[in-house]
């Protein structure tokens, strides 16, 4: 049962991603991308990682996609007739590189001689403790970085 579900979800994800790349209309492309993220979230759930599934939905399908849509609105890209479809000159190198990366990934997976370090399922509590204690200093750095990113963005975007 789980296996069939996995293959269905994986196929849905792949197809949605291909459409997300080939679709001319950026808003449609984003809808395909969201579909792909949802399928990925379900796969994470199947792998007994419900938390990562939730993060996938909240962060990628939620926040990141809203950001994409926002940029498309702001830059007024919602006109497919303006966008030229990439020609063979763009497709060919992309496909060659894609094949290279796929081959490398397959080699990396099939040639691995070691088992991955032991993993276990952790709950949201354990995750939070690790996040705010073990990586406390990292959280502080990120919050300061956000502050200065805002300062920089405001400076560059301010009226002359």
């Amino acid at each position: 049962m789980e296996q069939y579900l996995f293959y269905i979800l994986a196929a849905a994800m792949l197809i949605a991603t291909v459409f997300a790349i080939t679709e001319k209309h950026p808003v449609h492309a984003i809808v395909y991308l969201v579909t792909s993220f949802f399928a990925l979230a379900a796969i994470f759930y199947l792998l007994a990682a419900p938390m990562i599934a939730a993060f996938e939905v909240i962060i990628y399908a939620g926040a990141v996609m809203v950001l994409f849509l926002f940029v498309i609105m702001m830059l007024d890209l919602g006109h497919p007739e303006k966008a030229a479809r990439p020609g063979i000159g763009h497709w060919l190198p992309a496909m060659v590189l894609g094949v290279v990366i796929a081959a490398a990934a397959v080699t990396a997976i099939t040639l691995r001689t070691t088992t991955a370090p032991a993993t276990r399922v952790i709950g949201i509590k354990e995750f939070s403790v690790a996040l705010f204690q073990r990586y406390g200093v990292a959280i502080e750095i990120i919050s300061m970085q956000l502050l200065f990113a805002v300062v920089g963005a405001l400076y560059l975007g301010r009226k002359r």
Partner: protein, 491 residues
């Protein structure tokens, strides 16, 4: 010879230990305070922000000096303030100090006198410090991000200037792309070893030797090398350098060519020497190729440049190559040479850019080498300063650049990389051509301009004075500084 080992006499503190990040804390508090002050003062008073940030840097420098010899670790070993990171922190503070000294005059001239530049410079410095003291891949990555985000804004700081905008955008796009490589590499290393602590990665690999045959680990190492190579502007990942250096405001070019490069080397050294010593045979071969490519591409392209900022951009690529020679050697002499060289490079390069700031004027940057015709006669003292910086960049004694190169190359010879040292020396000889060409224009051509717009502000004079001292004193008596560099890596 064990380098950069976890210090034995450490003041151990697993949890919160602010002593381990004291310089970072001081500097970021000052940066945030300056942001607040900036709101309340008018545009004539923005120079005060510069003075305040200079005071802040001096205070931070004292905290760095007082930490010397007393290593501190904290936050579950995600930061380690040892002598190695303190030496680099000193280098970053020196470069930020010299940069701020030349910033004010430039901003006034370009009529883009916004106070945000000083907090951003300080914050970029905080990022560099985190990169030097990070012993967790996560901290190193976040330090790099802090640094990069500030630099993207600084590169595009002159908003009215199209070239500056272009520089900011180009740096942002390529920088974000290269960060992806670095992060991918870190993720693969985490995936194959199960930890992000650099020391724990090394001990995992030494306990599970077969992990070395894991392609994931090798791919992780390669991707991280790509990410760091971008930050230090090593060929073939150097394409962004000339455009960004040319377009960015000149003081920011000076800053970018020195501080972030040193920070990139600090993190590069820490990760590769501490976390991946088991792969040293592999990565030193890789670095060998990178070093030769970087030196050669940088120098040969610099020969053809007529724009002095572009020329110094290619020269900074070449200098990354010389430093990579010392890194490739991987022994104590070469690595100490890296530290020594980055510090003296800060003095000579920012000094040269200070002169470039002076020669330019509003709307006319005078960046062409021919704009320097007769400069040495019209302004003998400034011409003399520029000559000292150029001699040092070319590696001619008694400047610090010569001593630095001497240690980098002798480290390579001691490690058996004789050919690498020979290629380095040949490259260094070729570089003399384009540095001396500026001097030929300065002293052997008749002046076409009166250079009457030149006004040396006190802060710029101080910058030149410090830079000349920083180039000549370690060049003539290198013992003290070299001793510090050796203590920094062997403690």
């Amino acid at each position: 010879m064990d380098m950069l080992q976890f210090p034995a006499n450490i003041a151990a503190a697993a949890g919160v230990n602010f002593a381990a990040i004291m310089p970072e804390v001081i500097l970021s508090v000052i940066a945030m305070a300056l942001l607040l002050v900036n709101v309340f003062i008018n545009s004539e008073q923005k120079a005060y922000l510069g003075y305040l940030s200079l005071i802040g840097i001096v205070v931070t420098f004292f905290s760095v000096v007082s930490g010397w010899g007393a290593p501190q670790s904290g936050f579950n070993n995600s930061v380690l303030q040892d002598n190695f990171s303190l030496f680099f922190k000193g280098t970053f503070l020196v470069s930020a100090f010299l940069t701020i000294l030349i910033t004010d005059q430039y901003l006034k001239r370009e009529e883009c006198n916004w106070g945000e530049i000083y907090p951003l410079i300080l914050f970029a410095t905080v990022g560099m410090m985190l990169m030097a003291s990070g012993t967790d891949l996560m901290t190193i990555f976040l330090g790099l991000e802090v640094l990069s985000v500030s630099l993207y804004v600084l590169a595009g700081f002159n908003r009215a200037n199209l070239k500056s905008n272009e520089a900011g955008l180009k740096y942002f796009l390529l920088g974000a792309f290269s960060t992806g490589f670095l992060l991918y590499g870190m993720a693969l290393i985490y995936g194959s070893t199960g930890t992000t602590r650099v020391a724990a990665i090394a001990s995992y690999i030494s306990q599970n030797g077969m992990v070395l045959s894991n392609p994931m680990l090798v791919a992780g190492m390669l991707l991280m090398a790509v990410g760091f190579s971008f930050k230090i502007a090593a060929a073939p990942f150097h394409m962004w350098t000339p455009d960004v250096y040319e377009g960015a405001p000149t003081p920011m070019t000076a800053f970018m060519s020195v501080g972030p490069k040193a920070a990139g080397f600090a993190a590069f050294l820490r990760v590769f020497i501490v976390a991946l010593p088991a792969m040293k045979a592999d990565w030193s071969e890789l670095l060998w190729v990178l070093a030769v490519l970087t030196m050669t591409v940088g120098n040969i392209t610099a020969l053809k440049q007529t724009n002095i900022k572009r020329m110094l951009a290619y020269s900074s690529i070449a200098h990354a190559g010389y430093v990579l020679v010392g890194f490739t050697a991987g022994n104590a002499v070469g690595t100490a040479g890296v530290l020594f060289y980055m510090l003296s490079y800060a003095f000579m390069n920012i000094g040269a850019f200070a002169i470039i700031v002076l020669v330019g004027r509003k709307g006319e940057e005078n960046n062409n080498v021919s704009d320097y015709a007769g400069f040495g006669f019209k302004h003998p003292v400034l011409g003399m300063c520029m000559s000292i910086f150029l001699f040092s960049l070319a590696g001619i004694p008694p400047a610090a650049g010569f001593i630095g190169k001497f240690y980098l190359f002798s480290g390579a010879i001691q490690a058996g990389y004789v050919w690498l040292a020979i290629i380095g020396v040949l490259n260094s000889a070729a570089s003399v051509y384009y540095y001396l060409r500026v001097m030929v224009f300065m002293y052997m051509k008749d002046p076409t301009e009166e250079f009457d717009w030149l006004a040396v502000s006190p802060s710029l004079a101080l910058c030149l004075l410090l830079s000349v001292a920083g180039v000549l004193i370690p060049g003539i008596v290198p013992g003290t500084l070299l001793d510090l560099a050796q203590k920094a890596i062997l403690m």
